[in-house]
Symmetry: C3
Subunit: 341 residues, 3 copies
């Protein structure tokens, strides 16, 4: 069992990150250079020149190729070396690994594993970042923790009441029971928490203008290993969706996380918050950005600490799990099976 789930798509970055030059990013332990050629094509190559192992990401994009910044070996988007200094012939073994890469909305996805298996496996959809009717904000953070600790964190939102009090947490989150389930066919772990007649935290009240008591639904869909979506529904107490699925008196947010292992002990957290209201209000985007960045920072700080704790403990870590952990335990189990495959 390796440390990472392979043969899977991972969020690797934002399209905007390759606008002005190559991007070095380690994904699942692999150092990768992402770059956009002048024709607009996107490439993901092993970030090591075949000559002397210098990172290609420190070089220059020229046309649809990348030139090593040390001695000038040049590679096309498929990883084939097309030029070396001082001689015109060189072995065809002069090539670096290339990774399947896809852009979908603002996110760059990379395939880690056997490239031949990539084509038949779809990149998970996340339409709220590219469909009309939605507006999103997003950012990313690096966490010095194993990816499992971030998954634990996201699957058990009872921590909102403590770690995120005053932002997205109220006491009712921790107090309200959850339902959790696994859809083996779709490969989705679900955790649902429907709170009735509860306090509305600032994240939702200020952004939407809703005042007074609310019904607050948290419906988690986690598609291991990478994509986590929290479907958040906020409505005045007692207001339900219509029987046709329409839900005009509620507001909806989709809180997305791309959980991408960097190394065994560090993780990229690509996050976005999409909303279906106040689409033209810039101040709402600014407010949500500020709030979400602060909430993520609280998680990052906590998980950085927790990784040090876990890493310092030899042998099996002693934990005590309770009902709120059901979703997290299911996710752990799915990830374990995926790593064993």
């Amino acid at each position: 069992m390796g440390p990472f789930v392979t043969n899977a798509w991972y969020v690797a970055g934002w399209g905007t990150e390759v606008a002005s030059g190559p991007l070095a990013r380690t994904i699942c332990g692999d150092p990768i250079v992402f770059f956009r050629g002048e024709s607009g094509s996107l490439a993901a190559l092993a970030d090591r020149c075949v000559h002397r192992r210098y990172p290609l990401s420190l070089g220059l994009v020229k046309g649809d190729t990348i030139e090593c910044g040390y001695h000038g070996f040049t590679y096309d988007c498929s990883g084939m070396c097309v030029s070396v200094p001082g001689q015109s012939k060189f072995p065809s073994t002069a090539r670096v690994k290339s990774y399947p890469v896809v852009e979908q909305g603002p996110w760059i996805w990379v395939w880690i594993g056997d490239p031949d298996k990539a084509s038949s496996t779809e990149v998970p959809k996340h339409p709220w970042l590219y469909d009309v009717g939605w507006r999103w904000i997003g950012n990313h953070a690096s966490i010095n923790c194993r990816s499992g600790l971030l998954v634990d964190n996201l699957m058990d939102l009872s921590h909102e009441s403590y770690l995120h009090a005053g932002y997205i947490g109220t006491p009712e989150v921790a107090q309200t029971p959850i339902d959790s389930s696994i859809d083996d066919k779709a490969g989705i772990v679900r955790v649902n928490r429907h709170m009735h007649n509860v306090e509305c935290p600032p994240f939702y009240s200020k952004s939407s203008g809703i005042s007074g008591r609310i019904d607050r639904w948290q419906d988690i869909e986690y598609r291991p290993p990478c994509l986590y979506v929290l479907h958040s529904r906020i409505a005045p107490t007692g207001v339900l969706p219509n029987s046709d699925g329409s839900d005009p008196d509620a507001i909806h947010m989709k809180i997305l996380y791309g959980v991408t292992p960097e190394t065994e002990n560090s993780t990229w957290n690509f996050y976005a918050v999409a909303r279906d209201f106040s689409l033209s209000d810039d101040w709402v985007s600014e407010f949500l950005t500020e709030m979400q960045d602060a909430v993520v920072k609280q998680d990052v700080d906590a998980l950085n600490v927790l990784e040090k704790v876990i890493a310092s403990e030899s042998g099996q870590v002693q934990e005590l799990s309770i009902k709120i952990d059901t979703g997290g335990l299911v996710a752990r189990n799915v990830l374990k099976k995926m790593r064993e495959r």
Copy 2:
């Protein structure tokens, strides 16, 4: 033989350090949270929540309990979990280790080892920090060295002549022979150096107003593993204590060190300087604070360097011991026996 002397009291901190919230401090490798409940009670618990190992020291004190800052597990002063989120029943195994803890004067002492053996073993007395007739200043420092290097440092004060020249050191310290002895019954290592007709360093001359040549006595009492007291007597040359023990023409200082291992390679140094003169002169306290902090910093800098040297040398470290090392070698031997017990 473990790395630490156990079944012993260690200085863990100052009472003032738990005034505004929990204090995280690692003692002998154990992460411990110290907190004062609203009733004034003091508790020392293992600093790891039973749930997901999050440090309790990052949580909040509520009444006489502490609430985990991640998911809200709550513990009383005995370490018993008294509340978890979302459910009213939970296993009685939900408890964390508690440590015997005692306050004596300004210092918090913690017992490392078998709690049942704590009650019968007295916390070492250090009346100069809480009896009338004395006034003290104090502080603490963290040193990136094994505790043995600090003990070596304190037992051989010849280093004052070199490392602390201009503060507490004069050439005569290193030149004057020592007597060292061990009181096995009381568990005390003693090193005595009585200097006659010597120069008075600024630490003593400025604080006391004594000018001219002095007799300077350094009587070390080290009670392994933690408490070190230097009884310092400064008198005009030739002036001896009276036969009844009174000593009105001399001044006395007690320089105390709590030597507390943090990890195998780092050490807490809790230090205090008590005096029996100029009790109402604030400027003397300020002067001694400034001087003692500077002297300790000189030691910290030297020991940080020395730890790196020792750690970099594989195998047995080659040393050459001479007469001035007698006290230090006795102390090393006592500590070795205590670790083996």
Copy 3:
């Protein structure tokens, strides 16, 4: 096979570095203190007091001795302990290792290996730093890389075209073929690149005033393990040296590097640039200093990155060598044989 070439002279520093007190410098893994006594004599001793291992470099030079800053043990230039605190007799084993040391021009050279073999082996000459007719500038840098990576860098100047473009590199450097050879008797590896009718980079054009196309000769002489000299000749296109060896219409620079391992994964780079023109022009010295420091910084940054890459790769590092690497591969082979001896 040890990690370092021993029984060899290494550049250890500049004479100016011991002007105001002892200098601590690790050479080939050995911590060494260099100091100049009041009589002007230069000494190199193991930087560890025999007493408690404190670095002597933190002590004081007194006369022609050095006094330990912790407890005052004092050593003469041969490493013999001549004084300890508090006693007049002490064992003759109280001595530290001394290293053969030589000053030649501005450089201090130290002998690493068997001291008895030092006398019969000459320090490599580098007259451009001490003979009339030349003026030099120089400095040093610490690189967090194994010394072999710096040797690779210097032996393959094709990297000038990429890493140092705009300073000393033009496209023609990488495009021009090299000749490489080894002079086993003299112990010198040579790499020659003679460029005809090429662009003159700013390093040479601004300092010399030469404008237009040039002939540019790069003649490397590497005398393993430490001394690297690049003989650089710049002349107007078509101008050759006279048959008697005089070369009045060309300018000459000698770019010297002392490649000195600090540890297995860090290296001292002592560099100098000597010229035979504009000897009285301070601005030329200032310009060359600025340029050379910038060029070295580019190398240091690149090599710091490369060391992390190499260190992170387990097993044999996969490289692909081409014609430009011939000189570097010869140098690697010579160094390997020297380490095996």
